[in-house]
Structure formats: C-alpha cells, structure tokens
Amino acid sequence: MKKYIFNLIATLSIIAFFIGIQPTSWSVGYQPELPDELR
C-alpha cells in the first residue's frame, strides 16, 4: 500500500514536472528552481 501511494505521488510529480518545466510560469509568480541534475 505504501509503495502504491509513493508510486502515485512519483507519477503525479513527474507529470507536474513536465508541465511546469516550461520556462514561462504555469502559475502566478513563482517557479521552483531547476535542480542541478536537470540543467
């Protein structure tokens, strides 16, 4: 059950990453800083 929930959170986060990775913002004024691993 714990693994299933973690998998769900991981999948949702990766979807949000692909949407939010746009250089322009997807929200009102703040965009998370891009981690060094993804630069």
Partner: protein, 204 residues
C-alpha cells in the same frame, strides 16, 4: 520571517520516495521539482480563495487570478525568488485588483488605449523567460509569442463584451498587471522584494 520552506518539504519527501522505490538521482530531481510545484499550487488554490472571501472580493479576485495564470503561461514574466514572497505579493496584488474592480469605471477611450499599449508590449516583449531557465530554441520563442498574443486578444475580446462591470474590470486589470511584469521596470520592484528577508526556514 521563518516559515517552513515548500522547497525543503518537497526535497525531503522526494528523498523518501526515491529511497523507497529505488529510483536514480535524475528521477529524484524531477519528483522534487514536480512536488514543489504541486504543493505550491495546492497551497495557493486553498488559501487564496479564503483570503478573497475575507476581503469580500471572491468572484473578482478569482477571475483575476485565472486571467493572470492563463496569460502568464504563454507570456512569462518576472519571478520572485521564494515561494513565500511570491505568495504574499500575489495575494496582495490580486486582492487589490478585486477591490478596484468593484469600484472602478474605466473610460472607453482609456480602455482602448491601454489595450493597444498592452498589445504592443506583449508583441515586443513576450515571452519573458527567467535567466536561469531560458527558452532554448527560436521556434519555441516564436510559438510562445503567437500564443501570448492570441490569449491577450481573446481576453480583450471577452472584456469588451457587454458583461458585468466588475468582471470586465477584473479581467482587464489582471491583463494590465501581467503585461507590466513583462516590462523591465518591474525588475527594480522585484529586486527590492527579493532583498526583503522573506526567507523560509530549511528543514532537514
């Protein structure tokens, strides 16, 4: 002001998930970034409407918030460095738009002049990308510019229809605010806000 940082919550949670699911470092970074975006969006979506209700500008501010979000997705604009400063500045500005939208009567000529100026600014300036995350290809920049102009024209068209005055004001004031974030003078204001000690506390 010390608050628990959204970044550190997302980072810690992504570490736990990565260890549990045996994922690599790149996946961890993607999960951390995505989680930060999700947590930030949930906080805003829950708390903003409450703030709007408290100030009695629920409808006007909600319309303004979504107008900014839609236009900003394509046009970009200045960013603040921390979630908490963004949260406070955004809430303040959107509530102000809601309050102004209730009382303001915009003259027809002024409405058309401001719309024309907005159109020119969007045409020349958009998309405004953050230096740490630039748009890499010319083609993408071109697509984002076309999309920004189309969204702007759609919003101007909606606001020029015979709708309630407060709804019209909310849309158009939100458009003007978003267009202002494309110009360089907001750099100065944003730099000043970023210098304020609105840093969140890192938790480990």
């Amino acid at each position: 002001m010390n608050l628990i940082s959204v970044h550190s919550i997302a980072s810690n949670l992504s570490n736990v998930i990565t260890q549990e699911l045996n994922l690599d470092n790149v996946k961890r970074a993607k999960i951390s970034y995505g989680l930060e975006a999700i947590i930030g969006a949930i906080i805003k979506l829950v708390i903003f409407p409450v703030i709007f209700l408290v100030f009695g500008v629920f409808k006007q501010s909600l319309i303004a918030m979504f107008t900014i979000a839609i236009l900003r997705y394509a046009s970009g604009g200045m960013h603040l460095k921390t979630f908490i400063s963004c949260f406070m500045v955004s809430a303040g500005l959107i509530v102000s738009i809601g309050m102004l939208a209730k009382v303001l009567v915009i003259n027809h000529y002024l409405f058309y002049v401001l719309n024309f100026v907005s159109f020119i600014i969007v045409l020349l300036k958009s998309p405004v990308d953050p230096p740490e995350k630039p748009i890499k290809t010319k083609q993408k920049r071109y697509i984002m510019k076309i999309l920004s102009v189309l969204i702007l024209l759609l919003l101007i068209y909606i606001s020029s229809k015979p709708i309630e005055n407060d709804v019209k004001n909310s849309i158009i004031l939100a458009v003007y605010l978003q267009v202002l974030t494309l110009t360089s003078w907001t750099n100065t204001i944003y730099k000043y806000i970023n210098q304020l000690k609105l840093k969140a506390k890192e938790v480990s």
